[in-house]
Each structure stands twice: as C-alpha cells, then as structure tokens.
C-alpha cells in the first residue's frame, strides 16, 4: 500500500515536471523559442538565447521573428536548428531515449533517498522502543511547572 502511494507520488512528480513541454510547444511566441535554444555565437558564450545580449543573439532573434511570421512553427524552427548545429543547440535535454535519464534520475534518487531515510528512522525508533522494556509512569506535573520546564528546555542550546 505504502509502495503504491510512493509510486503514485513519483508518477505525479515526473508528470508535473514533464508538463512544461506541452506548455512551451503550445505558445508559438518568440520568447518560448529563445528559451528553448542556446546562443550559437562565435564567442561560444554558453548562454540560453533569451539570456544572451551579444550581437549574434540579436541577429538570431530577428531571424527567428521572421521565420515565425512566415508561418513556421516553433517545432519546425527547433528542428532546423538541431539539423544545423546538433543537439547542443537545445537548452535542455530532450525527453526521450537516453536523455530521459537526465530528467528522471534526480527524482528516482530523491525517492530512493526518501525510502532510505524512512527505513533508518524506523530502525532508530524501533531500537528505542525495544530498549524500553520497563514502563515508567509519568508523574503528574502541574501546568505551571510543565510550562517552566518547556521554557527552560527551550533555553538550552538548540
């Protein structure tokens, strides 16, 4: 039951993170295109086009603007760019084939870590519970002393 819940959680996380594709593809605007592609200037500035301020980036923007006006879609322009420069022109890995591991691995690691932390915590709590064979009845403490005790405990280096 617990495992299925965690798997469901993993599914939701991956689904949310992958949802962006449809959002980006749906908006045929220059900004989306600039976000999806790297600047390919001679200086190899290594910036996403939307973040680049070099002269090449200005020319590229103007070129893309014309291409969009001519009726080309974002997908078509991206494909043309990939054909010209290779996958390195994309600002993020694609979400299929080997590149999918880029997207999935962090979440898989996080879920695995979550399982690990849960296991460790259960083991530590179990150790304590196992060790307490003698039940000690808690003395009744008045509200005033209980509050004072809490305040003093709070005062101890936390």
């Amino acid at each position: 039951m617990q495992t299925s819940k965690v798997l469901m959680g993993l599914f939701v996380l991956v689904w949310i993170s992958m949802g962006q594709v449809s959002v980006v593809s749906a908006g045929a605007v220059l900004q989306d295109l600039e976000n999806a592609l790297m600047c390919k200037c001679d200086d190899k500035c290594g910036k996403v086009l939307i973040n680049c301020t070099c002269a090449t980036s200005d020319k590229t923007r103007a070129k893309f603007s014309k291409m969009l006006d001519s009726g080309l879609t974002i997908e078509q322009i991206i494909k043309m760019q990939v054909d010209e420069y290779g996958e390195t022109v994309l600002s993020a890995p694609t979400k299929f084939g080997f590149n999918l591991t880029a997207w999935v691995t962090p979440f898989v690691a996080l879920i695995a870590g979550g399982f690990g932390v849960r296991k460790v915590l259960l083991a530590w709590v179990g150790k304590k519970d196992g060790g307490e064979s003698i039940e000690v009845s808690e003395p009744e403490i008045s509200e005033k002393y209980s509050k004072r005790l809490k305040d003093e405990l709070d005062g101890i280096e936390l």
Partner: protein
C-alpha cells in the same frame, strides 16, 4: 620586486612541505620539539605568500607589463580600483589569491589552537598544508603569475570590460572566503578521523568556521546574482551556469551539515553522516574550482587559459579516495547509539531537510555533468540549461520551503498529536487564509503561475511558523521577567543566538523564495526601436526616448548614453540612463543597465542598439519583487551574524552539561 615575489612563493612551498611533514611526525611520535618547530611554519608561509601577493599588486599598480599576467589583465588606463581587483581576474592571480586566503585562515587556526588538543590540531594543520601545497605547487610550476615577457610591451591588453564593475571587487573575494573557509572544518574532520578522536570535539572547534564559510559562500552567491543582474543586461540574475552551480552545490551540502550536526551535538548521533557531509562540501568546492580551470564544461566563467583540469581532477580523486578510505577504516569508531523517541520529531524533520537539500544538490550536479555523460555514452554533446534546472529543482525547492516551516514548530524527541495541533494551528490557518485570499488575485494559467501560487502560500505558512516561535519566546520571557515586548524579544534572541539567528536566516530564505517566484512568474519585457521623442508603454509606465549622448570617458572607453523619461499617471516619475560602453581593442560593447528598484518591482532598462540617426533600440523589463531577494540576502547576513556572535552563555551551558555528565559517568581516575 618580481624576483622577490617569485622567490617567496618557492620559499612558501618549501616551508609548507616541511611544516606538513613536521606536524605529522610530531603527532605520530609525540614529539613536542617537532610540534613547536612545525607550529612556526603557518606564520612563515603566510608571510611569504603575503609578500608575493604584495609584489603582484605592486606590479599591477605600477603597470609593470614585463609580467605576462599583468599585461593580460590590466592596462595603463584601468582605474586603480580595478587594478587592485585584476589580481584575481585571471587564473594565475586567482590561485595566488586562494593561497593567500588559505594561508591567512591557517594562521588564525594556528593561533587559535596553539598548544591545544595536540591529538587533533597537528593533523588538521597538516591537512590544510597539504591543500596549500597543492595550490603552491600549481602556482610555482604550472601557472606562475610572475612569468616574464622578454620584451615588455608599453601597454597591457586590459581587463575584460564585464569585470570592470564594483562587484568584481566584492563577489570573487566573498566567494573565495567561503570556498577556502571550508578547508578548515574539512581539515579538522580528517584530523579527527586520523587521530581517532571522533567525539564532537572537532565539530565544536570548527562550528564558527563552518558558519563563517557558509555565510561567505551564501553572500558570494547572492553578490554573484546581483552582479549578473546589473552587468550582463539580460534582466535575470541566475542562469544555472556550471560555475554558478558549482558555488551553489557546496552551499546546499553545507546547509544540510549545519542542520544535521545539531543532532550530533544534542544526541551524539549521525557521526558518519556529518563526517561525510563536511568532506563532501569540501570536495564540491574543489569540483567548482576544477570546472573553472579545466575547460571541460562550457561556462561563461571559465578562465581563458583553463589548462589545470588534470591537476585538479587528480587532486580531487586523491581527496575523494582518502576521505572514503578514512571513513571506511574508522567506521567501527564512528558508530553511535542511534536512537529516536519518535518518527514524528524535529530530528526526523532535519533528516528530511537533509534529504531535500541533497536532492537539489544532486539534481544540480547531475545536470552539470550530464553533458559529459551524454558525450561518453552516446558520443553526442548536449546542453543542460535553465529549463532543466527550473523544472527539476523547483518542486524539490518547494518541499524544502515547506520543511523550513515545519522544522521549528515540531518538538525535539517526540511530537504528540496535541503538541502538533497546538504548534501548527496558527501557521496552517495563515497558510489557508493566504491560499484563499490569493486564489482570485493570482493567475493560475501556467505551471509557473501554479508554482508561484504554492510558493506564496508556503511563504506565509513558514513566516507565521517562525514569527510564532519569536512570539512564544517573547511572551514566555515577559511572563517570567518584567520586561517590555521589545526588550523581551531582544533578550530572548540574545540569550539564544544560535536558535533565533537561525530563524532570522530562515526569514531571509523565505523572502528569497518569494522574490524568485514573483520575478519568474510575473515579469514582462518589451523591445522597441525608437526615434527621439517617441514613447511606448509597459505595465503602466510610459517611457519616452529623449536623447542620446556620447561621452569619451577615458582614452580607451566611450560611453553612449540614452536618456529615457519614465512617466506614471501622467507625471514624470524617473529618468533612466542605460548605456553602452565601447572599450578600445574589445569586439563586443558592454551594456550598462539602469534600474529603478522598488519594493514592488524593478524597472530595468537596456540600451540594446543605436544608429547614426540617433534612433535606438530600447529593451525594458518589469521584474516584480526582485528587491525581496536582495533584502532576504541582507536578512540572512544579519541572522548569520547573530548566530555567529560569541555566546558566553552557550559556553557556560556546555560546561555545565559536561560537568553534569562527568558527575553521572565519572572517569576511571575519579572512581
């Protein structure tokens, strides 16, 4: 002078080598004479490295272009201000600067711990010297800043215009202070492993150092973001560049360490984990240095002459292998009686906080190295840019934000249902009210907007949870002592600096989250080509292009300044002066943006282009809530200061606790 600089570098290396060997031999052979001799070496090394640094600074200030490094990063016209900062503008000088900071740290550690804890300190000093020897070796034999040019040119090539910004004087030193600072806790951790002195002594000895290093690294990252915002002219502050990532990862891991180490101090648990975290933090600082100096990963920060990759890679592997080996060998001694009273406790929340912080660090690391992996596996080089990091790290970051609110209100040891109900009631209620109030106001059309909505709700939840803690402390104090509310708040904070300083840092983090969310989701920008007198509108601002002025600022710099009148509600509100700077000998002009920053939003102007007819292309961004981030940064700085401030009460409490423990468990000698 240059000969002196070069000679003192060699002398520093030789002294460091002797000091390292002498420290180790003194510890292994219990030889006090060797220890006393070795203990002089940090001072000698510091003097040598300082003299060498002064020589290089002098070369910059006197335009001594016989040095290749000075020629490459300075020129006669360069401001004195930037001549000073050119010292760390390139690879050679930055390594010398690293060595200078490390030797200074080492000297302070040496004076702080003189004749103290002779089981651990000599090894710690030896480890620091090993790191310093590596850097001195590189400086002396691979990238010597005192390398000469046979026929000195009359003028230098000049500093990269992007580096001619006041942040250049602030950002790199701050970041380096953080990077280098983590050498100290790392050295003490390794020393504890070698000497088998594995109680929490090394943690206590280095707690302040860890906090100081964390503070500088955090500020370094924020200053870097600030610099990118005002200098790069693209309206943003963080581009997930590999080198930015490299500074971000140790910060995350160190944050995880600062939280989990509290559990070791309180309950003597998680020794292996804490040891691993601090070692990993140091390894990640080296990884960052490796990236900038290897040229292996494309980055805007990479040095021109990035040729030291193999040296750093080898050193990185040696350090990782040594750390893993030491931990494995000492594993039996690191085992602790790990017990928890309840799954539902602050200890557990800290573990989950560690998980999330490391999750973000791993995702960032994975994205940084994935291009190399892809090339190795598929033979295809790909790019991993901001879209990847934003999509992967944002959901994990939101989990972290929630944990910041949960941690302080969940009880140590065991949280009961009534206790949870009592502590969570107000923050959860505040969160619900925020969710309901913001729902009709905030658009939820895209995933970014949904994330932003969740972020704002969580920010309210976290802020309420933290402020409730302050309120409870204040009321409790007022109940016991006859103090005013402000007095009680100040006293309770002052008497528990570490705890409340931490809460203040959390408030700063919340503001940063809110600022990032607001600026990412609701920002807008437009670009217009205008003739003089023409106007356009953006988010209620009317911007009129008034004039274009050319100014010969220096013999090598020409400034082209556009004047833009900003009107709001029909009244002149502000005058913006974005400009382009042209440097002689540089291909690309540099944009100098002009920003009107308010609590609500930034009006960010760029002169993108201009023509001979004085028409100009103006790009304007409206970035909401950016100033929240910078305010958050200053609050973090204040909170860190409070946490780091020497606390006699804390020392007294610790001594009392140790005395009580000694009474409970008398040593064999006492028995």
């Amino acid at each position: 002078m240059n000969d002196i600089g070069e000679f003192t570098l060699l002398l520093a290396l030789a002294t460091a080598l002797y000091g390292c060997v002498a420290y180790v031999m003194s510890a292994r052979g219990n030889r006090i004479d060797l220890y006393l001799s070795a203990d002089k070496t940090p001072f000698i090394v510091w003097v040598c490295v300082t003299i060498s640094s002064i020589c290089l600074w002098r070369a910059f200030l006197t335009d001594d272009f016989s040095l290749q490094y000075v020629w490459a990063y300075s020129n006669i016209e360069l401001d004195t201000f930037y001549k000073v900062s050119s010292f760390w503008g390139g690879q050679k000088g930055s390594l010398l600067f690293w060595a200078l900071l490390l030797s200074t740290y080492m000297l302070v550690v040496c004076f702080q711990n003189r004749k103290k804890n002779l089981r651990v300190v000599p090894y710690a000093m030896a480890v620091m010297l090993v790191v310093l020897i590596f850097f001195l070796f590189l400086i002396n034999f691979s990238t010597n800043p005192f390398e000469r040019i046979p026929l000195p040119p009359e003028d230098g090539r000049g500093l990269n215009p992007l580096l001619q910004n006041y942040w250049m004087v602030i950002h790199p030193p701050t970041l380096y202070l953080g990077y280098v600072g983590f050498t100290v806790p790392f050295a003490f951790a390794v020393a504890a492993l070698i000497s088998k002195d594995l109680d929490d002594g090394w943690i206590r000895m280095t707690r302040k150092w860890t906090l100081i290093s964390w503070f500088f690294l955090c500020m370094g990252n924020l200053f870097g973001a600030s610099w990118a915002y005002v200098e790069l002219g693209w309206g943003g502050y963080w581009a997930w560049d590999p080198v930015e990532n490299a500074a971000f990862m140790p910060l995350l891991i160190a944050t995880a360490y600062l939280h989990s180490v509290m559990i070791q101090e309180k309950k003597d648990m998680m020794k292996v984990w804490n040891m691993s975290l601090i070692l990993l933090t140091f390894v990640m600082t080296l990884f960052g240095t490796f990236i900038t100096r290897s040229g292996l990963i494309q980055s805007v920060h990479t040095f021109d002459e990035a040729t030291l990759g193999y040296y750093f890679l080898a050193f990185l592997f040696v350090i990782i292998a040594a750390c893993i080996g030491l931990i494995l060998v000492r594993l039996p001694l690191l085992k602790s009686a790990n017990e928890l009273d309840s799954f539902l406790s602050r200890e557990s929340s800290f573990l989950f906080n560690n998980l999330v912080l490391l999750g973000i660090a791993f995702a960032t690391f994975w994205g940084t190295i994935f291009p190399i992996i892809s090339e190795a596996v598929r033979g295809v080089k790909i790019t991993v840019g901001p879209p990847f990091y934003n999509q992967v790290n944002v959901p994990i970051g939101l989990a972290l934000l929630a944990l910041i609110g949960i941690g302080p209100v969940i009880a140590w040891r065991r949280a009961t249902f009534s206790n949870l109900k009592k502590n969570f009631l107000k923050p959860v209620l505040a969160g619900i009210i925020a969710a309901v109030a913001l729902f009709p106001v905030i658009p939820l059309g895209s995933r970014t907007e949904i994330y932003t909505y969740v972020t704002f709700v969580l920010c309210v939840f976290v802020l309420t949870s933290i402020l409730t803690e302050f309120y409870k402390g204040m009321v409790s104090r007022m109940g016991l002592h006859d103090e005013s509310a402000v007095g009680a708040l100040a006293t309770v904070t002052w008497r528990n600096k570490r705890r409340y300083g931490g809460y203040i840092v959390h408030i700063g983090v919340v503001l940063i989250f809110a600022g990032i969310a607001g600026s990412q989701a609701y920002g807008t920008h437009t670009e217009k080509h205008l003739k003089i007198g023409e106007s356009f509108e953006i988010r209620g601002y009317t911007i009129t292009y008034e004039k274009l002025v050319a100014v010969e600022a220096t013999n090598i710099k020409t400034r082209i300044i556009a004047q833009l009148a900003v009107e709001r509600d029909g009244k002149r509100y502000w005058t913006g002066h974005p400009e382009k700077e042209f440097y002689k000998g540089q291909n690309q002009p540099v944009s100098e943006v002009d920003v009107l920053s308010t609590w609500k939003e930034d009006l960010y102007m760029i002169l993108a282009d201009f023509r001979e007819d004085e028409s100009a292309t103006i790009k304007v961004y409206v970035n909401p809530m950016v100033s929240w981030m910078w305010t958050g940064g200053w609050i973090i700085a204040f909170g860190s200061m409070v946490s780091m401030w020497p606390d006699r009460l804390e020392q007294r409490r610790r001594l009392d606790r140790i005395r009580k423990q000694e009474q409970l468990f008398p040593s064999p000698a006492q028995e």
